[in-house]
């Protein structure tokens, strides 16, 4: 058993994902299955092998530097246009500060 239902609930909390009890049970089974398969990676000795954090190294380190010049940007009305709730040019969320 790689992962328990209790752990699944903790991970769902970290991921900000509400899951039903049925989903939790199913998720525990499926993640267990996948993580068991992932254990195969431990067959390999990777001592001294660099993690591949970049896909291509061909360009020089400074190749993507640019001058700090202001460019075109989205307008405020455009930026909030897809928000479910907005007002006065801001994104509105449920109250986070108590009076």
């Amino acid at each position: 058993m790689k992962i328990t239902e209790t752990e699944v609930r903790q991970v769902a909390g970290l991921a900000n994902l509400s899951l039903t009890d049925t989903e939790i049970a199913r998720m525990a089974r499926e993640l267990d299955d996948i993580l068991t398969h992932v254990d195969k990676l431990n067959e390999l000795d990777t001592t001294g092998v660099e993690p591949m954090a970049q896909v291509l190294y061909a360009a020089g380190e400074t190749a993507t530097w640019r001058d700090d010049i202001e460019g075109a940007t989205l307008s405020n009305s455009c930026a909030v246009a897809n928000a479910p709730v907005s007002g006065a040019g801001f994104f509105k969320v449920p109250r986070v500060i108590e009076k």
Binding site: I3, E7, V8, V11, A12, L14, A15, N16, L17, S18, L19, T20, E23, M27, E30, L31, D33, I34, L35, H37, V38, D39, K40, L41, N42, E43, L44, T46, V49, E50, P51, M52, A53, Q54, V55, L56, A58, A59, A63, T64, R66, L74, C78, A79, V80, A81, N82, A83, P84, V85, F91, V93, P94, R95, V96
Partner: protein, 475 residues
């Protein structure tokens, strides 16, 4: 409307049809055919006709309207199109209207292409069958009882169906090559960084690619030529110059060294295996030298991929929280409950599974054991390819272990679905260019694609080989 780009070019120049007539015909055809396949999520007639009119005006003035002039193109609905809905196949983004165009979109339009619609796909490009779309599955035009592959199933289906001449898809672990194989068309995943990802909705940023589908190698090459190249808006886009891929389609592949990875062919006793073997015979007849090569870390590719892609996905999908882009759950008094309910109600099962797995492998205590371990294994897999490319110019492989399967057939077992990605994810992890080119059909008439993989930025050689194969008369 199975026209090739060259035929469109000739037809426009000779006045046989106008770009507006072509666009109108494509839109009408797409509208009529779509109920069969559900391949388009929405058509874009206003944008299409405006682009077509611009092409006609340029032609009338005697100007060159560009290499893709008047070509009807469909776009996977994970690629942003300004003022047009971009849903990513997700209920969460059902009403999302993109505020800007992806670089690839700007480039195909600058080349004269006419965007006719946005295509269906697995939610946030996660899936191998297009059954994970919130807007219903896509059916394969070759056999409507079967899946078109995924995640770019809609983009493959519209080209196979002839309602678009070419299309754009995205590929993270095979999402262009596998549907191309299932639908019997050409699909190309370029080198990582060859095409700007600006405006491509992020799934797994170190693995995501935009690439073209076409009815022929020439058409796919022409689209890649238009969209490739450095873009200041994507720091990972490559500076390497873009050669003319279409000009390189000489038909001459004599002396080209082809590698067959022994690890790929060991367990492939099937019609797919037979068709690939016949394809290799054709390449031999065309003058290629065939060698056996070894990619010893192949068996680790699936666990490696599913750790890295889910880790990146869990991070990228964190932004869909009911504040900026998505609809919001009506349940939940506090901010945190609102986030959780919005995401819990909005994401489909596959996205939830990947968010959970990704969050788990990145969480404290597991990060080194899973994520960093997988990144180290990724280095070994990439190294396998660079070693092989010291001996050969191209690698030939299957795309999928089997042809298009029936809808619903593999839905209940996610691990089995993941395992079917084995031949495509190795190239994705290495960041090399790969493509699927049709190599015949099974006895039941289902298309099978042959995969060609080349070294970084060797798209020209890959296209030359694919084009010579396509024109060999053997498929």
């Amino acid at each position: 409307m199975k026209l090739a780009i060259r035929e469109i070019r000739a037809g426009l120049r000779s006045g046989q049809f106008s770009a507006r007539e072509l666009a109108s015909r494509a839109l009408a055809h797409a509208g009529a055919e779509n109920p069969k396949t559900n391949a388009y999520l929405h058509l874009t007639p206003e944008r299409a006709l405006a682009a077509a009119d611009a092409v006609d005006a340029q032609l009338a003035r005697g100007e060159d309207p560009g290499p893709l002039a008047g070509v009807p193109i469909a776009v996977k609905d994970v690629i942003l199109t300004k003022d047009i809905r971009t849903t990513c196949g997700s209920r969460l983004l059902e009403h999302y209207v993109a505020p800007y165009d992806a670089t690839a979109i700007m480039r195909v339009e600058q080349a004269g292409a006419v965007i006719v619609g946005k295509t269906n796909c697995d939610e946030f490009a996660m899936g191998s069958s297009n059954e994970n779309s919130a807007f219903g599955p896509v059916r394969n035009p070759v056999d409507l009882e079967r899946v078109p592959g995924g995640s770019s199933g809609g983009s493959a289906a519209v080209v196979a169906q002839g309602t678009a001449v070419v299309s754009l898809g995205s590929d993270t672990g095979g999402s262009i090559r596998q549907p191309a194989s299932f639908c019997g068309i050409v699909g190309v995943t370029p080198t990582y960084g060859r095409v700007s990802r600006y405006g491509l909705t992020a799934f797994a940023s170190s693995l995501d690619h935009i690439g073209p589908f076409g009815g022929s190698v020439h058409d796919a090459a022409a689209v890649l030529e238009a969209i490739a190249g450095r873009d200041p808006m994507d720091a990972t886009s490559a500076f390497a110059p873009v050669p003319s891929y279409t000009a390189g389609l000489t038909g001459d592949v004599r002396g080209m060294r082809i590698g067959l990875p022994k690890e790929y062919f060991a367990g492939l006793a099937s019609e797919t295996g037979d068709l690939i073997a016949r394809g290799v015979d054709t390449l031999r007849r065309l003058g290629c030298e065939v060698h056996e090569v070894s990619l010893p870390h192949t068996e680790y590719a699936i666990p490696c991929y599913y750790v890295i892609c889910t880790a990146e996905a869990s991070s990228n999908l964190a932004r869909y929280d009911g504040v900026r882009y998505t609809s919001r759950s009506a349940n939940g008094e506090t901010l945190i409950d609102m986030y959780r309910n919005t995401r819990g109600e909005g994401f489909g099962a596959e996205c939830k599974r990947r968010i959970m797995l990704g969050t788990y492998v990145l969480s404290a205590g597991y990060y080194d054991a899973y994520y960093i371990k997988a990144q180290r294994v990724r280095t070994l897999i990439a190294r396998d390819f660079s070693n092989a490319f010291q001996q050969v110019d191209a690698i030939i492989a299957p795309v999928s272990p089997f042809p298009a399967f029936k809808l619903g057939e593999k839905l209940d077992d996610p691990m089995q679905m993941y395992l079917s990605d084995i031949y495509t994810i190795t190239g994705s992890l290495a960041g090399i260019p790969c493509m699927s080119v049709p190599c015949g059909a099974t006895a039941a008439g289902l298309p099978v694609g042959m995969q060609i993989l080349c070294n970084h930025f060797e798209e020209a050689a890959m296209f030359r080989l694919a084009h010579a194969f396509e024109n060999s008369g053997d498929t």
